[in-house]
Amino acid sequence: MLDIPLDVQANLPVLIVLTPLLGGVIATFTGRGVLPWLWSTLVTGVTFALTIQMMMTLLASGEPFISYELGNWPKWWGIEYRVDLLNAFILLVVAGIGFITTVYARLSVQDEIPDDRHNVFYAVWILAITGLLGITITGDAFNVYVLLEISSLTVYALIAMGKDRDRRALTASLRYLILGSVGASFILLGIGYLMMVTGTLNMEDMHNQLLRMPDLDTNRTILVAFALLVVGLSLKMALYPLHMWLPKAYTYAPSAVSALLAATATKVGVYMAFRFLFGIFGVGFSFYAMPSHFVLLGMASLGIIFSSLTAIRQTNAKSLLAYSSVGQIGYIVAGFSLANPNGVAGSIVHIFNHAVTKGGMFMALGAIAYRVGGTDMKHLRGLGKRMPLTAGALALGGLGLIGFPLTAGFISKWYLVSGALDAGMWQLAVVVLIGSLFALVYVWKIIEALFFGEPTGRTAEATEAPLSMLIPIWVLIGLSIYFGVDTSFTADVATRAASSLLGGLP
C-alpha cells in the first residue's frame, strides 16, 4: 500500500462527492471497450463504500449531524457539507442504486449506445450520480442549485441518448430540459429571495434568520419565495400536475438510464423539498402558516388517483411504470405534507422502498428490451416461460408497488395510512388505498401478459437474461422483499430522521 497521508475519515463527506466527480472526469480517458464500464463500476463502488462508512460514522458518533466546512471557511461564509441521518440515508440509497445500476448497465449500454462514445456516456453517467449526491449532502442553498444543474444537464443528455432506439427520446429530453430549467430557475429565484431577506446562503443560518424575523408569516417576499420554491421543487420531483416531463422521459430513455432516474432523480427532488420546507422554512411556517398542507396533499392525492388511472391505460410497460412513478411520488409527498411523525417516516421509508422496487423493475424491463427488443405489452406476452427469472422479478416488484405484505411497499403504506389517521385525514387513507387498488390493476396487466399470454415474434425465441443483468435486478428486488420483512433498519432510520425533521414536535 502506498502511504497516502489522506485522512479519509476526516474528509469523508467531501470524498463522497469528490470520488465520483474525479472518477467521472477521468472516465473520459478510458477509451473503448469494457474499460469505461469497469472504471465506472469501480468508482461507483468506492462511492457506495464511502457512503456506508459515512452512515456508520454518523451512527457511531451519536451526534445529530456531522459538519464539514469546505476550504475550512466558517460555514456561514463558505460552503458547508452537513450529514445528518436523513441525508446519510438518502446518500446511501443514491450511491447504492448508482452502483447497482452501473453494474447492470454494461450489456444494456453496449446494446443501446454507439460503442465509440462509451467513455463519454459513462463520464456523464457518473457525473449525474455526482450531482445527485452533491445535492443531497450539501448544507448550502446555492450549492444545491449548482449541483441540481449538473444532475439535470447530465440527465437531459442521458435521456436524449435513447435517440437511436426511438427518436421520441429527443423530444422527451428537450421537454424535460425546458421544464426542468424553468423549475430550476424558480428554485434559483426562490433562493435569491431568501438570500435577500436573510443575508446568507447557509441553510441553517437561513433558518435561524427566518425565525428571527418578526414578520415571518406576513412578509410577502418570503411568501413568494416559498411559493417559488414549492413550484420549482414540484417540477423537479414531478408532482402532479407538474409531472408532464416524466413519463416520456422515462419511457424513451436508454434502459439503464431509466432505472437510474426512476430510482434516484425524483427522490432527490423530494429530499430537496425536505431540506427547504422542513430545514429552511421550518415545519411551523411550511405547514401551519402556509396552506401547503392542503395544496400539497391535494396535488398528491390527485396525482395518486389520476396517474394511476393513466398508468392503467398504457400499452408500453415502461410508460406504465413511469406513470406509476408519478403516483408513487404522490404517496411520498402526501406523507411529508402530513407533517407528523408517521407520515414523514412513511415518506422517507417510501423513498427508499420505491427506489429499490422501481429500480429493480426498470432494470427487469431493460433486460427484456435487451432480449426481446421492446417493452410493449406484445413483447411481454408469454415471457414468463421464456425468461422466468426476469419475469418473476418484475412480478415481485409489482407486488411491492401494490403494497402487498412482505414487500417493502407494504411498510410504506402502513406508515402513510397511520400518519393519515394520526392527522385525522381519513380521506387521505382512502386515497392511498384506492391508489393501491389501481396499482393492483396495472400491475396485474403486466403479470397476466407475462404469465398467461402466448409469446409471439421475438418473444417466442427469447432466452433468459444474462447473469450480469439478473444479479443486479435480483439484488434490488431481493432488497425490496427483505426490507418488507425486516424493517428494523429502514423504519428506525426513518422514524429518527422524521423526528429530527419535525424538530420540537413529539
Binding site: 405484505p405 397511520s418 418488507g484 425486516d486
Partner: protein
C-alpha cells in the same frame, strides 16, 4: 416441547414446494414428494394436538412467548402462536391435503393438464400460507398470510390459461385483494391506531380503548363492518362473486379453495376476529354486531336460491359454499359460546362434506366429461362409489344424521335458541329445505333415472366450451351403447375414488367421533373471560 412446531408446520410445505420445483422434470418423484410432504405435515400438526388439548393450556402454553419470525414493523412482529381454533383449521387443512394430493395425482394425469409442476408448487405454497394463517399470533401475521394465500392460489385459478380462466382469475384476485387492501388493511391500521396492539387476546383488545373513550361504539361498529366485509374470503354477500368465478380452476383446486384452504381461511378469520380481536363483551356492549346476523342470514338464503337454478354442477356447489360459509359467520355473530362452538365445528364438518362433493364432481368430469347436472341421469349406476360419496356429502350439507353436518347445525340451533334469535332459527330451517331442494334431485337423478338413450334424450344442452371437447359430442351424437364415448365410462381412476371415499367416510366418522373437534372448541372457551 412443541413450541417450535408451528414454525415447522409452515416450513414443511414450503420446503416441499422447493423440492417439487426441483423435481419438476420427473413427475413421479414430484408427486411422491407432494404426498410425502402432506403426510409429514399431518404428522407435525398431530404432534401439536396434545399440547393444545391439555388442561391448563391457557395458563401455560398460551402465556409463553410467541415465536417471532421477524420484526416486520417496529413493535409489531410477525409471530406464530398455538391456539385451539387455529388447531382445528390446521388439522382439517393438513389431513385433507393428503387426500387432495392423492386426488390431484389422479385428476391431473387423467386430464393431461399442462404446467403441473407450477400447480403442485403453488398448492404447497398455499398450504404453507394456510399454516401461517392458522398459527398466526397477531392480526398482522394473519393478514400477511391471508394475502400470501390469495397470491399463491391465483396461478391455480388461472391454471388453464384460457382467456376465460384468466378473466375469472382476475375477478378472483380482484375481489379478494381489493377487499383486503381496501377494507381489511385500513381496519387493521385503525385497530393499531386505537389500541396500539395487534396481538390476539381472548376477550378482545378493544376494551381499554372503549373505556377510556378513545374509541366510541359507532366507531367500533364501523371497524367491525370493515373487518367483516374486508375478509372477502368469507364470501359474505356482496363479496361472494369470486367464488363462482374461481370455478374455472381444475377440480382439485376448487376442492381446495372451497372446502379447505381459502374459504375456511375467510371464516376462520371471521371467527378469530370476533373472539380474539373484538371480544364478545365489547361487541355486545357496543351493540354493533347484530347487523351481521341479518347479512349472513340473507346470504344463506339468497345463495341457496341461486344454487337451485344452477345447472353446472360446480357452480351449484359454489353457491352452496357461499351459503354454508354464512352458517359459520352467522354462528359466530351470535357471540355466544354455543355459537362459536357451532362455528368451529361447522368449519370441520363443511370441509369434509364439501370436499367430498367437489371430489365427486371432478371424478364425474374425469370419467364422463360431464359438467351439467342435467346430464347426470343414471350415472350412479356406472359410478357407484362416486355417487355414493356424493350422496353422503349432500346429506352432511343438509344436516341429516349420521353426518357431521348434523352436529354443527344442532349447536347452531341451540345457540340461536339460547340467545333468542328466532330469525336465525327460521333461516336455518328454511335453508335446510333449500339445501335438500338443490342436492337431493342430483342424487335422485343419478340413481333413479335411466341413463340417456340415444333415441330418447341426447344431452340436454351442449357442453360447456371451457370443459368439453366438441369431438366427444359428435361421437355421442351418432353412437349408441358401445359406440358412445360417454356411455362407456366406468369409475374414475383409483386415486380419485380412494380420496373421495375417504372424505365421505370422514364425514360419517366425524359424526360418531367428534371428540377432537369438540375438545378443541371447548378449549377455546376455557380461555375466554367469563361474562
Amino acid at each position: 416441547m412443541g413450541i417450535e412446531l408451528p414454525l415447522l408446520a409452515m416450513l414443511v410445505p414450503a420446503a416441499g414446494a422447493l423440492l417439487i420445483a426441483a423435481f419438476g422434470r420427473w413427475p413421479n418423484v414430484r408427486e411422491l414428494v407432494t404426498v410425502l410432504t402432506s403426510v409429514a405435515l399431518l404428522g407435525v400438526v398431530l404432534q401439536m394436538l396434545p399440547t393444545v388439548l391439555a388442561d391448563g393450556f391457557w395458563e401455560t402454553t398460551w402465556t409463553t412467548e410467541p415465536i417471532v419470525l421477524f420484526e416486520m414493523l417496529p413493535g409489531i412482529p410477525l409471530e406464530l402462536k398455538l391456539e385451539p381454533l387455529g388447531m382445528i383449521y390446521a388439522l382439517i387443512a393438513s389431513s385433507l391435503w393428503i387426500l387432495n394430493s392423492l386426488y390431484s395425482v389422479g385428476y391431473m394425469r387423467a386430464n393431461h393438464e399442462k404446467n403441473q409442476t407450477r400447480f403442485y408448487v403453488c398448492f404447497a405454497l398455499a398450504i404453507a400460507s394456510v399454516m401461517g394463517i392458522a398459527f398466526s399470533g397477531n392480526i398482522l401475521t394473519l393478514f400477511v398470510f391471508y394475502e400470501a394465500l390469495s397470491v399463491s392460489t391465483y396461478p391455480l385459478v388461472a391454471h388453464k390459461g384460457t382467456p376465460e380462466a384468466v378473466r375469472s382469475a382476475r375477478v378472483y384476485l380482484g375481489i379478494l385483494v381489493g377487499t383486503s387492501i381496501g377494507l381489511l388493511l385500513p381496519a387493521l391500521i385503525a385497530t393499531y391506531f386505537f389500541t396500539g396492539d395487534l396481538a390476539f387476546a381472548p376477550g378482545g383488545i378493544f376494551q381499554e380503548a372503549l373505556t377510556d373513550g378513545r374509541l366510541t361504539g359507532p366507531m367500533l361498529g364501523v371497524l367491525f363492518f370493515m373487518y367483516m366485509f374486508g375478509i372477502g374470503k368469507a364470501a359474505l354477500m356482496p363479496m361472494h362473486k369470486w367464488l363462482p368465478a374461481a370455478m374455472v380452476a381444475p377440480t382439485p383446486v376448487s376442492a381446495l379453495l372451497h372446502a379447505v384452504a381459502v374459504v375456511k381461511a375467510g371464516v376462520f378469520t371471521v371467527v378469530k376476529v370476533c373472539i380474539y380481536v373484538f371480544g364478545t363483551q365489547s361487541l355486545v356492549s357496543a351493540g354493533q354486531g347484530e347487523w351481521l346476523i341479518y347479512v349472513a342470514g340473507a346470504t344463506i338464503l339468497i345463495a341457496s336460491c341461486i344454487a337451485l337454478f344452477q345447472d353446472n354442477l360446480k357452480r351449484r356447489l359454489a353457491y352452496s359454499t357461499v351459503s354454508q360459509l354464512s352458517y359459520i359467520t352467522i354462528a359466530a355473530s351470535l357471540l355466544s359460546p354455543l355459537g362459536f362452538m357451532a362455528a368451529s365445528i361447522h368449519i370441520a364438518a363443511h370441509a369434509f362434506g364439501k370436499i367430498t362433493l367437489f371430489f365427486a364432481a371432478g371424478s364425474i368430469y374425469t370419467a364422463a366429461h360431464k359438467t351439467k347436472i342435467s346430464e347426470l341421469d343414471g350415472i350412479g349406476r356406472k359410478m357407484p362409489w362416486t355417487m355414493g360419496a356424493f350422496a353422503i356429502g349432500s346429506l352432511s350439507m343438509i344436516g341429516v344424521p349420521p353426518t357431521a353436518g348434523f352436529i354443527s347445525k344442532w349447536y347452531l340451533l341451540s345457540g340461536a335458541w339460547e340467545t333468542g334469535y328466532t330469525f336465525v332459527i327460521v333461516v336455518v330451517l328454511l335453508s335446510t329445505l333449500l339445501n335438500a331442494g338443490y342436492f337431493l334431485p342430483i342424487v335422485w337423478r343419478a340413481f333413479f333415472r335411466a341413463p340417456p338413450s340415444h333415441d330418447g334424450h341426447a344431452p340436454l344442452s351442449p357442453q360447456d366450451d371451457a370443459f368439453g371437447d366438441p369431438a366427444d359430442e359428435v361421437t355421442a351424437g351418432h353412437g349408441h351403447g358401445h359406440d358412445d364415448h360417454h356411455g362407456d365410462h366406468g369409475e374414475a381412476p383409483l386415486p380419485i375414488v380412494f380420496a373421495l371415499s375417504c372424505t365421505a367416510a370422514g364425514t360419517i366418522v366425524l359424526f360418531f367421533f367428534p371428540d377432537i373437534v369438540l375438545g378443541l372448541a371447548q378449549q377455546i372457551f376455557k380461555g375466554l373471560p367469563l361474562p
